[in-house]
């Protein structure tokens, strides 16, 4: 692997993993508001 390929891979993987985990964690941790039906 070239240094450029490693750099692209590292940056992209870091960004995608960060947002995937962050948002899914927020979904898990934030209960939906009580149903008003």
């Amino acid at each position: 692997m070239t240094a450029a390929a490693w750099t692209m891979l590292a940056i992209t993987w870091a960004v995608i993993t960060f947002y995937t985990i962050k948002y899914f964690w927020m979904v898990v941790k934030t209960p939906p508001r009580s149903d008003q039906d």
Binding site: M1, T2, A4, A5, W6, M8, L9, T12, W13, V15, I16, T17, Y19, T20, Y23, F24, M26, V27, V28, T30, P31, P32, R33, D35, Q36, D37
Partner: protein
């Protein structure tokens, strides 16, 4: 009539939405598209398209869905009808019925192949038989024949369809949501296991000709010249568009079961990023590195040159797994198993809008609606199976799975911004949000996203031969005309590039052109019938309210 069905849990809803987006293309199409469009450089326009078109379009579709759900609508005609007073809005929803039922027809067929391959991997078929010999026999493809009646393929197709109908008939929470809660974790487990096994292959292991990292390098090495090539940008935007399963009405349908004050902004972002995780990190590290290790980079480059990893995935990988000893059957079952889970979570999302339409607008009970959906998909799927060698499958794939989606998404974006109104639209997206949506996205949704979709549409319509837009413009201005690619919308429509356009050959036998044109006629009839059903539903509604 309004149904009171709801998602069981928030996590279940997000997993179902992510499952809708994650499909076979995440593992087969993405790595090949990335590799042939500048490797790592492809990821730059790809991620920009995700932020400027993908996420905003997800927000638009979630907002349209949750808005319409308040009025008891859960399918595209009703959801769009609630966006304005214009009577024609509901008829754009024809696309939301047409695409789902037609895409399900060929998609369930491909899904059934993965199920059959799981079975054949487990019983060791690929130890003795090459997949390149197995697959044509499985499909019933014979030289010079436009028809096929393959018994085994029919059996697995019917089985897959029955499974879809059964899950759909169980309802939202006990069917679709449960399937996503089981399928998505298993998909991740299988994919991560195979990625680790593939990337840690020893260069000295039997059969290995090259380091798998050479394959990873092929996908990720940035060729920055690609950034200046419009083809790279169109390929990236197109990939984002199709990977998120937008433009089908399925996202809106799922979102219509969300309470009007519950979050959609965070849910949509979470499902979208989850799809990216599966596509870029897992999909980009699986097929090509493993294939490169055993075949060498040159062979992999040649087989992905068309932008599809289908050949590697179905015809090559099963043989390569034989190098893994006792793990081979398990690896095959995992690879095709993850493709199956990716497929079924998407095909269920195609069924739900049809069920919702029949339930909401015609009062058909859910189980009967599921069976009706299954029968319709079986009949249309029969055409795909029977006329596969003649090109019916490709016609279904292109016109319903590619072209119609872009048209519908463009219509949705324009209606949401310009008829529903960006002020109400923005309020709809941000109401109850558990995520602070940056205000810049209001501008993006209003101008940039529709423009992006328009570019994807024009790119698909006028794609020049070889993808060389500069040369095509040169050809146009020199008076030689626009060199349409045979795979472009215009190229396909007018059979450009085909040696002789005729319905019957000199011996009086039907040709591929005949099958293609008959398939188009059938698709047109299905489209018109969907429009008729919408007209009928609103007639009944008017009669009831009178």
């Amino acid at each position: 009539m309004a149904t009171r069905e709801r998602w069981g849990t928030r996590v279940g809803l997000v997993l179902a939405m992510a499952g809708n987006a994650v499909g076979l293309g995440n593992f087969l199409r993405f790595p090949a598209e990335a590799a042939r469009n500048g490797g790592g450089a492809f990821l730059i326009p790809y991620l920009i398209s995700f932020i400027l078109m993908g996420i905003p379009l997800l927000w638009i579709e979630w907002a349209i869905g949750r808005h319409g759900g308040q009025f008891g609508h859960h399918s595209a005609p009703g959801l769009l009808d609630r966006l304005g007073r214009q009577g024609w809005l509901k008829y754009l929803g024809t696309f939301g019925l047409f695409t789902n039922v037609c895409v399900a027809a060929f998609y369930c067929y491909v899904e059934s192949w993965t199920l059959a391959y799981v079975w054949h991997s487990v019983i060791g078929t690929f130890k003795a038989t090459k997949p390149t010999d197995f697959f044509p026999v499985y499909l019933g493809v014979h030289a010079d024949s436009l028809f096929a009646l393959p018994a085994e393929a029919f059996f697995f197709f019917a089985l897959t369809l029955a499974l879809n109908v059964w899950i759909l008939s169980r309802g939202l929470a006990r069917g679709i949501e449960l399937a996503a809660k089981i399928g998505m974790p298993l998909l991740l487990l299988f994919a991560i296991t195979l990625v680790i096994r593939g990337l840690t292959l020893d260069s000295a292991a039997p059969g290995v000709v090259q380091s798998p990292l050479a394959g990873l390098n092929f996908v990720w090495n940035p060729q920055l010249s690609g950034l200046l090539n419009p083809t790279t940008w169109m390929a990236a935007a197109g990939q984002i568009f199709f990977t998120l399963s937008v433009g089908m009405g399925a996202v809106g349908c799922y979102a219509s079961y969300v309470h009007r004050d519950h979050d959609i902004a965070l849910n949509a972002a979470s499902a979208g990023w989850m799809n990216e995780f599966v596509e870029v990190i897992l999909g980009g590290s699986l097929l090509i590195p493993i294939a490169t290790a055993y075949l060498g980079l040159q062979a992999v480059q040649a087989s992905t040159a068309s932008g599809s990893g289908f050949e590697l995935g179905f015809l090559t990988l099963p043989t390569l797994f034989n190098n893994w000893g006792w793990f081979a059957p398990l690896a095959g079952a995992m690879w095709f198993g993850l493709l199956f889970f990716a497929g079924i979570t998407s095909s269920l999302a195609m069924g739900q809008p049809i069920l919702a339409f029949l339930e909401d607008e015609f009062g058909v009970p859910r189980t009967r609606a599921a069976v009706l959906f299954g029968l319709t998909v079986f009949l249309l799927g029969f055409v795909c199976v029977w006329l596969y060698p003649g090109g019916a499958f490709d016609e279904f794939n292109f016109w319903t799975g590619t072209f119609a989606l872009v048209i519908f998404a463009l219509g949705e974006a324009i209606i949401f911004v310009w008829i529903f109104g960006i002020d109400r639209g923005w309020e709809e997206i941000t109401r109850g949000a558990d995520l602070k949506v940056p205000r810049i996205f209001r501008f993006v949704i209003q101008y940039i996203t529709p423009l992006f979709i328009l570019v994807v549409l024009l790119g698909a319509m006028f794609q020049p031969g070889g993808g060389d837009w500069g040369a095509a413009l040169g050809s146009l201005f020199s008076g030689a005309g626009w060199p349409f690619d045979p795979g472009s919308v215009i190229g396909r429509l007018f059979h450009i590039g085909e040696p002789a356009y005729t319905w019957f050959d000199s011996a009086g036998r039907g040709t591929r052109a005949l099958v293609q044109d008959l398939t188009r006629l059938l698709l047109t009839m299905v489209f018109v019938f969907c429009g008729f059903l919408i007209w009928k539903a609103w007639q009944l509604k008017a009669r009831r309210s009178a």
